[in-house]
């Protein structure tokens, strides 16, 4: 049987035969560890720059995040609305049309982070608000399964959206084990850990033609919950928590449910929201939009998003004027 010691012995013999030329294993270890440390430091420093250079999505997120952090309740005297969500928002709402539709009554901003679910946004909004953002209205766009999900976007979430003091609650709510919790803790402080998923994605886009289409199939979206009782139980727990976050900050919080091809119990959640006094908007009930309004059975295409954006604008026009609490800052 082969053994690594036999190889080591060979190396040892080689070192003895030519002591002046061959490098010793001890020096090899030192060089290797130094090299690893250098690589790590380089990645820490360079990863945001690499992403800024290669990732259109990352640049968009950074730009939107910076804008969101600057939001005040009023912009030129008009209430501000921050739309947050994942690709369902990105592809379902035509931002420019919505802005044009609502101008000058509302100033609309958007923050989209792909593959995010409720916990990403609950803790993400907590941090955003703590860092000074203060829109009049926040509209969180999620489908009911994402509202009920325990999924988070891993290290990227820990770096970008999670506040370190929320870590114990993240661990509890997302059911993290100690290993994952420790990874989140470290990722919160590390550019590299937070960004490596996006960097890998950039590399894969360069290497594999049509990788984006493939990524939609193979990405981990967490488990899909489509059981009415489970969805309502989670909504019962999460809607008040979401509403309370708004109350504490003087912000109107709204949950927006995008259209779906199949039953997703969004109307039940809307009803529950009414009971709990948390607005849940369902501009298109499940099954209303035909499949030709979807790009892939889940995200809307241009035609579908046009209709949905108009309906969203109508919902927003019905909003009561913002309370003075929102304008106090």
């Amino acid at each position: 049987m082969l053994s690594s010691t036999s190889n080591s012995k060979n190396i040892g013999q080689r070192v003895q035969a030519a002591p002046d030329v061959a490098m010793s294993a001890k020096t090899g270890i030192m060089l290797l560890l130094a090299g690893l440390a250098l690589i790590y430091m380089a990645l820490e420093v360079l990863s945001p720059k690499i992403l800024a250079r290669f990732s259109r999505i990352e640049n968009r997120i950074n730009h939107e995040l910076a804008q969101a952090k600057q939001l005040n309740a009023l912009n030129d005297g008009h209430p501000t609305v921050l739309l947050v969500g994942n690709s369902l928002l990105n592809e379902g709402v035509q931002l420019d049309s919505l802005r044009a539709d609502l101008a000058p009554d509302y100033a609309v901003s958007r923050l989209v982070i792909e593959q995010t679910h409720y916990l990403d946004w609950y803790f993400g909004l907590r941090r955003l608000l703590a860092e000074g953002s203060h829109p009049s209205v926040i509209v969180l766009t999620l489908d009911p399964s994402q509202l009920a999900s325990g999924f988070t976007l891993g290290e990227s979430f820990a770096r970008r959206q999670m506040s370190i003091r929320d870590l114990p609650q993240v661990v509890r709510d997302a059911g993290l084990d100690r290993t994952t919790a420790s990874t989140y803790f470290l990722a919160h402080w590390s550019n590299w850990l937070g960004d490596k998923g996006y960097i890998r994605q950039c590399v894969m886009i360069l290497m594999v033609p049509h990788f984006r289409e493939l990524a939609g199939r193979i990405a981990d979206h967490g488990s899909h919950i489509n059981d009415r009782a489970s969805l309502l139980a989670m909504a019962q727990q999460r809607l008040p928590e979401f509403g309370k976050l708004g109350q504490e900050n003087g912000i109107r919080m709204i949950l927006l449910v995008p259209p779906a091809l199949r039953q997703n119990y969004s109307l039940d959640i809307q009803e529950l929201g009414t009971k709990l006094s948390i607005p849940v908007w369902v501009p298109s009930p499940p099954g209303e939009f035909p499949s030709d309004l979807y790009r892939d059975g889940f995200h809307l295409n241009a035609q579908g998003s046009k209709i949905f954006t108009e309906r969203l604008a109508n919902e927003m026009r019905k909003l009561p004027a913002p309370q003075s609490a929102g304008t106090s800052r």
Partner: protein, 466 residues
């Protein structure tokens, strides 16, 4: 603690630094505590179970070694086997057997309500149970002396690099290493660092990326099973499980070497096997040799005629399959391998002409039969496995398949090439016999590739669930 997470490297660095600053006896005590901490990191309750099991076997082994009474020796051996397999059986198989019995009785028209418990499987229980059984049996047959130090025995069972997913260490190999002082050996440590990096490459780059394709295919993300999706899923899983488990074994061996221990090689280019027998000499070697020495040979091996040899092969592989998990899919997987071994034995004994097939053809054939068996290993149920098999006869092409096949090629061909190199060179890991400078360059290249192509999030090693 997973080997591919940052916290493990913090743990490994701190443990290594403290460990080498201590004297021999203190080293063992410290390493035992560190290993218990490593294990308890999952769940402290499981640690109590492992310690209890270790304590029981420690005292039984001493009693076996001390007594002259053969009947008492035998009784103690049986007692230990019953305790070990009862613990394993309860935690791993209770619900499986209760559920299977319920299904069988229902099929016979008998409605019996059997209790199903919410049992969480303690990590690594199959591995440390097999190691304890090997120790007790070896002490009984006087192949190894019983350890008189609990710290030594406890460390042999729970040394953290092998604790969760092997390689299953033999008492005759590891126990003497635990009992003797160890010296810091830079050559071995250097090997250890490189093994860790190669292991991380196998796990994070190969396995975790192939897992994306395999998971999608088996979850139906490419639509209902069809020939392309089944091929994608099966090949991806074949490279995933190989990269995953060989990567784990390399990291475990690397960590052990940094601490001055040597673990047996667990994989030797298994997909180059030209027969089933050859496959099991190359795949999960620590398990296959355990099954051979503690199950197949005690059952009679090949000593009692052809029929009994086939029976023993089949039985060994069935139990080997069941060892992997409490599901009929693993039983079928074991049965396929057992039948393969038996048929191959029959064919090569009676028709040596089969031996003259070109090696390449035999390798390709064995690889594909192994891949076929992986469908049962990976599928969550027999129904799902048979749906995948039926998919082999359905054609449905989707636009994302070219990208998926290219993705799979990008992440499986490097491991194939690595194996070609290892097979030709006879090295244990890449560039093992090259100069130190080249090996440093190889290690750093591995690190850069892991940094850029390692999958996004840490995934539990597949064998953790066993």
């Amino acid at each position: 603690m997973l080997f591919d997470t940052p916290i493990f490297f913090v743990f490994l660095c701190l443990t290594t630094l403290c460990y080498w600053s201590l004297q021999f006896r203190a080293q063992n005590k410290f390493l035992l505590i560190a290993s218990y901490f490593f294990y308890g990191w999952w769940d402290w309750r499981f640690l109590c179970l492992m310690i209890a099991s270790t304590v029981i076997d420690y005292f039984i082994a001493i009693k076996i070694a001390d007594t002259e009474d053969l009947r008492l020796k035998r009784s103690l051996l049986i007692l230990s086997l019953i305790i070990n397999f009862s613990i394993l059986g309860f935690f791993k198989y209770f619900n499986f057997f209760a559920d299977s019995l319920h299904t069988s009785l229902s099929a016979l028209g008998l409605q019996v309500s059997l209790p199903l418990l919410r049992i969480i499987l303690p990590p690594g229980i199959s591995f440390y149970t097999f190691q304890e059984v090997a120790y007790i049996v070896d002490v009984y047959y006087e192949r190894v002396p019983a350890s008189r130090s609990f710290f030594d025995y406890g460390l042999f069972i729970s040394l953290f690099p092998h604790l969760i997913a092997g390689p299953i260490q033999r008492p005759s190999h590891l126990l003497p290493q635990v009992q003797k002082p160890r010296r810091m050996d830079f050559d071995k440590s250097f090997d250890g660092f490189l093994l860790i990096l190669e292991g991380l490459f196998r796990k994070c780059v190969i396995a975790d990326n192939c897992a994306l394709i395999a998971n999608a295919a088996f979850a139906g993300a490419f639509g209902p099973p069809s020939l392309p999706s089944v091929l994608l899923g099966t090949y991806a899983f074949a490279w995933q499980i190989y990269g995953d488990f060989s990567g784990y074994s390399d990291i475990a061996r690397g960590c052990a070497q940094i601490l001055g221990f040597h673990f047996m090689v667990n994989f030797r280019q298994p997909y180059f096997a030209d027969s089933f027998q050859d496959f099991w000499r190359r795949w999960h070697i620590s398990l296959s040799t355990w099954l051979r020495d503690y199950l197949y040979i005690p059952l009679g091996g090949n000593r009692f005629g052809e029929r009994k040899t086939y029976r023993n092969l089949l039985l060994t592989m069935l139990l080997g399959g069941l060892w992997h998990g409490a599901n009929w899919t693993f039983v079928v997987w074991g049965a396929l391998h057992g039948s393969g071994l038996a048929i191959e034995r029959k064919l090569t004994r009676n028709r040596p002409a089969l031996l003259i097939f070109p090696k390449l053809i035999k390798r390709v054939l064995v690889f594909h039969v192994v891949c076929l068996s992986w469908i049962f290993f990976r599928a969550p149920s027999l129904r799902a496995a048979s749906a995948m098999l039926r998919g082999l006869f359905v054609w449905n092409w989707r636009p994302e398949f070219p990208a998926a096949f290219l993705f799979l090629a990008i992440f499986s061909i490097p491991l194939l090439l690595l194996d070609v190199y290892l097979e030709l060179s006879g090295d244990e890991y890449c560039f093992a016999s090259a100069s130190v400078e080249r090996r440093v360059a190889f290690g750093l290249a591995c690190a850069v590739i892991i940094a850029f192509l390692g999958a996004n999030q840490a995934n539990a090693f597949i064998y953790f669930q066993f």
